[in-house]
Amino acid sequence: MSHIFLCGIKHSGKTTIGKLLAKRLGRRWYDLDREIERKIGEPIRTFYRAFGQEAFQQLEVEVLEAIIGEENLVISLGGGAADNDPLMKMVKERGTLVYLYLEEAHLLERILRGGIPPFLDEEDVEGSFHRLYERRNRRYSKDCNHLIQLPFDQAKEENVELVLSSLGLKE
């Protein structure tokens, strides 16, 4: 198998699971958002606010391109990868896309444990999340090779085992 890309809506566990998955498989792991921040030397949000979506998406593609020269990586994508067509195209060509799926209500419950995040509308938390969820879910469902439904609040170690068995990589 070539690269394993993990995608999902915010807080679905891309980073946590990606890291553990790579460890279990003895592969290198990259978190795309972290790599981007390393390159620009500032938080993504700051960059995004200053330069806008288009510039950020271009950056996503550049950074990914620089990484995927190596073989057999595990790469956690950012939550907004769904909106980045060239990025999704590259991902599909270069590996297996795994969509970590969580039910909308479960995900929102998890997100709201840390208070209302800036990407949601304070006046309409449920509605704004619903629109975001619908759009990205449609894209990830359509593009992914593996759709893995994660149970609500399952321990991360168990989630990793589930991903492994889903991918047929469990001995």
Partner: protein, 350 residues
Amino acid sequence: MGHNTFGNHFSVTTFGESHGPALGVIVDGVESGFTVDLEAIQKEMDRRRPGGNPSGTERNEIDKLVILSGLYEGVTTGTPIAMILESTNQRPRDYSHLKDVFRPGHADWTFYRKYGIRDIRGGGRSSGRETSARVAAGALAKQLLAKRGITIRAGVVQVGDIVAMKRDWEDPDPILACPDREAAVSMVRLIETVRKENDSIGGVIECIVRGAPVGLGEPVFGKLDALLAHAILSIGAVKGIQFGSGFALSAMRGSQANDQRTKDGFLSNHSGGILGGISSGQDIVFQAAIKPTSSIGIGQRTVDKEGNDVTLTVTGRHDPCICGRAVVVIEAMTAITLLDLYYTAFGKDA
């Protein structure tokens, strides 16, 4: 869709979807003047629900029964009895977006092709939750049969390749209602192994009816075995049924298969207590084959609505083996069928 009613003189109509505000059942044709044991009905409901059974799903869904009609001070009036089960576990907006991908083994594909829509909230009418309405109706039927000396017991007699050898119906194990406690230990262990592998497994449930009089069953299309098969196969997970020695009869000689009789009674029960579609007065015995739970934590190939290939892993609140919880559903459908045929043959006063 139609076809949501079963039975003639005693009929049961279920309604509701798995994650809707309520599921329910209308029971019609019940005799008047019968004092219903409501606690016993609730107890039967508890046997079916997850958590009521250690091998079941860990989801805490409470089936609380509300009776809307047909009883006056706990006594049947002879009018339709409407019972509903309110879902207490509904999270706000708790529905699935897996709607665009067809889950292998589920009814998604056929429902979508036939009706053009799919209930996205966990299977809708094809969900196992629907059977809780049948259990409520069946619990009532059981009481009406018990009054006539007819009792129904079911239990798991096989999980995977582990087969119960004993039939100790007076001392079944508490998890699977298996009449062989020793085998049950291995069965439960196997289910745990399968759970750890994120897989699922099927089994066989045996049902035994004692005290049934001669004469239940209406040839030719209302034969007892034909109607029981109809009732039992209408349970989602059931893919087969056999009566008495069942499929093994096809390998026997007539000299072995016939149940001989002396003045003291039958010498064997290969026929499962049914001859010519009519109860013979012997124990009625049948087995139902339960398929493995369809939702598993292993990637399986399927397509989405647009025909794109995808490997899907469905997990969440699912049992690795539903046999333990299906026992009470098998009993319920048996009770409903037998009471209907009892009323047909002997009337409501008998």
